[in-house]
């Protein structure tokens, strides 16, 4: 049953990444060089909406808080995120979108994925050294969230407010930012990237 779900949910995720244009490195690079923010709007709206519905779903008992998986905070998150950003801004793929782009028939994505396998392998070999630097020691409460989740494994940094209320507030804020961000900042006269219909 778990494998059927893996096939269904993985297929859905790959399908959606492709449909929203995230597997097209053109969109990622143009988002990061601030010429086309439509993908930024998509991402912010998706985070805001999913966060709001997730916490509301947990509050009414539809979604099991035991399904959550909150990752810890440590300085390696900041440094690793910075390294990932360098690669993302340079080539326009992240791990998930690179895989989806292989399904899109992109050959540079194959090179990216092999590079990724090499990078992950390098981390497997250097993990003891990374650990010894203290980069993996917990900061900011370790596995912490802002909103109370109802899952006792995770620390809520704002415990006084009902989780769903705080998450809804953050979610609406993110969706609002997505709504007001300009799709194409700076110029209204640039040609549309390929694949985007003229009435977009």
């Amino acid at each position: 049953m778990e494998i059927v779900l893996a096939i269904f949910l993985g297929t859905l995720f790959g399908f959606v990444l492709h449909r929203v244009g995230a597997s097209n490195p053109e969109n990622i690079i143009n988002m990061l060089r601030l010429t086309d923010l439509h993908l930024m709007k998509t991402i912010l709206f998706a985070i805001g909406l999913s966060s709001s519905v997730l916490f509301l779903g947990m509050a009414v008992g539809l979604i099991d808080p035991g399904h959550l998986s909150v990752k810890g905070s440590f300085n390696g998150v900041l440094l690793g995120g910075a390294l990932l950003g360098l690669g993302l801004g340079s080539v326009g793929y992240c791990p998930g979108t690179g895989l989806a782009a292989m399904g899109d028939g992109r050959r540079d994505a194959v090179a990216f994925v092999f590079g990724g396998l090499a990078g992950a392998f390098a981390y497997m070999l250097t993990y003891p050294a990374a650990k010894a630097t203290g980069l993996l020691d917990p900061i900011a409460g370790g596995k912490s969230t802002l909103a109370a989740t109802g899952n006792e494994s995770y620390v809520a940094l704002v415990p006084g407010v009902p989780g769903w209320m705080l998450a809804l507030g953050i979610g609406i804020l993110l969706m609002g930012i997505a709504w007001v961000l300009p799709g194409r900042p700076g110029s209204g006269s640039r040609p549309l990237p390929h694949g985007v219909p003229a009435n977009f």
């Binding site: 790959g14 990444l17 143009n30 909150v70 995120g81 690669g87 998930g96 992950a120």
Partner: protein
């Protein structure tokens, strides 16, 4: 619903994918599976890499410290390739292919070698593009493993759960991502 979705429909579709995953199983994550794939390949060459060990929490152990961490969690998945997270990631490739076959956005032949923004900046140099894509992949996955997750697991799933680590990760990823893209591709090239 042909071609690329507009931002609002796209955002709703993406939110749906993340929500249904956490509702039915657990939050979406991708980058760990690069380690699992490496472990499988390594274990083929050196079958003593991952061994059964009743002493650990999962029943598996490895002489590689990373595979052995958290009670052999990764070692177990290396030894059992048909597991949820690994099949999920393989299915993603299929899902993207399915979208292309059902009138999703269609990359041109040239796009499949390098995106247009690259060609405008660096010309038609496929080998240079592949080399940079390989180097970028190395950085992205090394960084993702050091951070403990990638754009899917840390940023999307993380911020969905209001994880502090998700916000931290998104901050530095976008800071260096914007710096790299502006430096390499500049703002004006190709689109004005």
């Amino acid at each position: 619903m042909t071609g690329q979705l507009d931002w609002l429909r796209g955002g709703i579709a993406l939110a749906f994918a993340f929500l249904i995953a956490v509702w039915l199983v657990k939050p979406i994550g991708v980058s760990t599976q690069f380690v699992i794939a490496d472990g499988m390949a390594w274990d083929l060459v050196n079958p003593s890499l991952v061994v059964e060990d009743p002493e650990t929490k999962t029943g598996y152990n490895s002489d590689n410290a990373y595979l052995a961490k958290s009670g052999g969690k990764y070692a177990k998945n290396v030894a059992n390739p048909i597991n949820y997270s690994f099949i999920f990631v393989l299915a993603m490739v299929f899902g993207a292919w399915l979208s292309r076959m059902t009138r999703g956005p269609q990359p041109s032949k040239a796009d499949r070698v390098a995106p247009r923004v690259w060609r405008n900046r660096f010309g038609d140099r496929p080998m240079a593009r592949y080399a940079l894509a390989f180097a970028g992949g190395f950085l992205v996955l090394y960084g993702a493993r050091l951070a403990g997750g990638c754009t899917s697991g840390h940023m999307m799933s993380g911020m969905m759960q209001t994880s502090v680590s998700g916000y931290l990760f998104a901050m530095t990823t976008f800071a260096t991502g914007i710096a790299a893209a502006l430096t390499l591709y500049r703002r004006g090239d190709g689109h004005r």
